[in-house]
């Protein structure tokens, strides 16, 4: 079980963030804090607003109310590319790779961002790249191949490798395990572990409960855009409101542990 790391300053703070689409409130006064080196789980039934939150944090959507802060700095009004240059990096539910470029080019996009961020260690990327590829189970891959030759799981992992090459401060993972088999999930665990060891604040959206319960330090649960509860995995698992949200009343939330 991971240790809960209590840093003094949160890396990412959401404060009363609201997002409406027409009549629907996709995010309803959502607040939480992310600390470096921890994994913060974001779970909830489908349609509860999880991906909307990632879109709000990265700036693809702009918040109607509330604030998002990176360190002490307000990023609520900044554009997506500016936020990524500050270190807010994400992966996507369905991998968004550059389909007409080879694997190496895809990876280099991550390195380019590190260079743009003026990080001193950015230029010597080879070693980091090799470590990441190995951690992701991609070390046998021919870098000059098209990304289409990778399996779905490999493509998802390549996205995380790309993200990690830019030395994120906050890593937002949108259902990284979806579509992966059990052995591929080990690579996800390894990558998440590498991120937390580097002090990165990781936000994990997931449906695979065993993964969530295993790697998360804290979890918040969303339903219809509202936070039902926030706390340790063990607390959340027993929370009746959470169980009802998932199962619509009755039954136990049985985590495969």
């Amino acid at each position: 079980m991971k240790h809960y790391i209590n840093e003094k300053e949160p890396v990412l703070t959401l404060h009363n963030v609201v997002k409406r689409f027409g009549g629907v409130t996709a995010a309803d006064h959502v607040s939480f804090e992310l600390y470096g080196g921890e994994v913060f789980g974001l779970i909830g039934p489908n349609g509860s607003g999880k991906t909307t939150l990632i879109n709000l944090i990265t700036g693809i959507y702009s918040a109607d109310e509330g604030n998002i802060m990176l360190g002490g700095k307000k990023v609520t009004k900044l554009s997506t590319h500016t936020r990524s240059k500050l270190g807010i990096i994400r992966s996507f539910q369905h991998p968004r790779l550059l389909g007409r470029c080879d694997i190496e080019t895809n990876i280099l996009v991550g390195v380019d961002l590190a260079v743009r961020r003026r990080l001193p260690q950015a230029r010597d990327y080879q070693e980091r790249m090799n470590i990441l590829l190995e951690t992701a189970g991609l070390s046998g891959v021919n870098l000059k191949d098209s990304t289409e030759r990778l399996s779905y799981g490999q493509q998802k992992m390549l996205e995380i490798v790309r993200a990690m090459l830019s030395y994120p401060k906050v890593l937002l993972l949108d259902e990284p395990a979806a579509g992966l088999n059990r052995s591929e999930m080990n690579y996800i665990r390894a990558l998440i572990s590498m991120a937390t060891n580097e002090g990165i604040a990781v936000l994990l959206i997931e449906h695979a409960m065993d993964l969530v319960m295993e790697v998360c330090n804290r979890i918040t649960v969303l339903n219809f855009g509202k936070q039902i509860t926030t706390g340790l995995p063990s607390e959340v698992q027993e929370n009746t409101a959470v169980i009802e949200a998932y199962l619509g009343g009755g039954g136990q939330l049985a985590a495969n542990q």
Partner: protein, 323 residues
């Protein structure tokens, strides 16, 4: 892989050899055709950068070509600058023009930019046709001197050929450098997945404007070279139809590489000369040909070649799941 760089160099050297030896067998008329083809190649290359690399479709390239041409002509004829300065200034001026316009146009979503480019082309052509003090209006501009540098004037078609060829080779090399650079990757990221690009630090508006600016630079060079080569400019050269020809040329050759630009340009430019008896039907053949090409091989000749290569050398699949 070493192979790709190696084959690039082999292609380049072969093409160079062919081109360098070409004038030996040709009369002035064919050389002029070849010179104009090379200048056209530079404009098609501008489409490569904007569309092939960055995914943005513009119909204004012939207009930018005209901007470069009229700029160079005016600088030499009316302001008395030496051709070398005019060449650089026309290049930089057209690049800046496109770059600044980019900031206005690229706020719009992809399709709208294409429409705006049609608008720009129309406006530019209208200006070329009517703005007498600058472009000579419907009569155009005449008596533009041939290019000269360090006191040497390029009088003959052959001399111009080598000069233009050198410039084309240099731009080709620059394109390769661009492809392997981080700005080049930013172009391709926008082309393939703009949202992912934004999430990885790529500023859409700025990057697209830079692409437009580079395309403007290429058209600017082409325009200046054309002004010096041909000696006179007319609005009838810089038309929307010409812009569509550029698109057809690069689709024919393959948008994936500057080599595609060469192939497409050469085939179409030279085809016209070699099928004189069919001249009346040429446009019809192009039209039907391009329709067939899009069905059979939308990636153009290069795409077809690549597909052929890959079926002949069946590559091993990576990873455990070979789908």
């Amino acid at each position: 892989m070493k192979n790709k760089k190696k084959s690039s160099i082999i292609v380049l050297l072969t093409a160079l050899a062919v081109f360098a030896l070409a004038p030996l067998g040709m009369g002035n008329y064919m050389l002029r055709v070849l010179n104009v083809a090379l200048i056209t190649y530079l404009c098609v290359l501008s489409v490569y950068v904007l569309l092939g690399m960055c995914g943005q479709n513009s119909f204004a390239q012939a207009g930018l070509w005209g901007v470069g041409a009229y700029m160079a002509a005016n600088l030499v004829l009316r302001a008395g600058f030496p051709p070398v300065i005019a060449l650089f200034a026309a290049t930089a001026g057209t690049a800046l023009f496109a770059f600044v316009l980019g900031f206005a146009f690229f706020r719009l979503r992809q399709y709208y930019f294409t429409f705006a480019s049609v608008g720009l082309m129309t406006i530019l052509n209208g200006l070329f046709m009517n703005w007498e003090p600058v472009t000579g209006g419907a009569l155009g501009m005449q008596n533009i001197p041939k290019f000269s540098v360090f006191g040497i004037m390029l009088e003959s078609e052959k001399a111009n050929f080598y000069f233009i060829l050198i410039i084309c080779v240099l731009t080709f090399v620059v394109m390769r450098i661009l492809f392997y650079s981080s700005i080049g990757r930013s172009f391709m990221a926008i082309r393939d997945n703009e949202i992912a690009a934004n999430c990885m630090g790529v500023n859409s508006l700025l990057t697209k404007s830079i692409a437009f600016g580079i395309s403007g630079a290429l058209c600017g060079i082409a325009g200046a070279l054309y002004a010096f080569l041909s000696g006179y400019l007319s609005y009838q050269t810089f038309t929307y139809q010409q812009s569509t020809m550029y698109l057809i040329m690069i689709m024919l050759g393959g948008t994936i590489s500057p080599v595609g630009a060469i192939i497409g340009t050469m085939i179409i430019s030279l085809l016209q000369e070699f099928v004189r008896p069919l001249a009346n039907y040429m446009q019809l053949i192009y039209g039907a040909g391009i329709m067939i090409l899009m069905v059979v091989q939308p990636e153009g000749i290069l795409g077809g070649g690549k597909a052929l290569y890959e079926t002949l050398h069946k590559r091993k699949r990576t990873g455990p799941d070979a789908a």
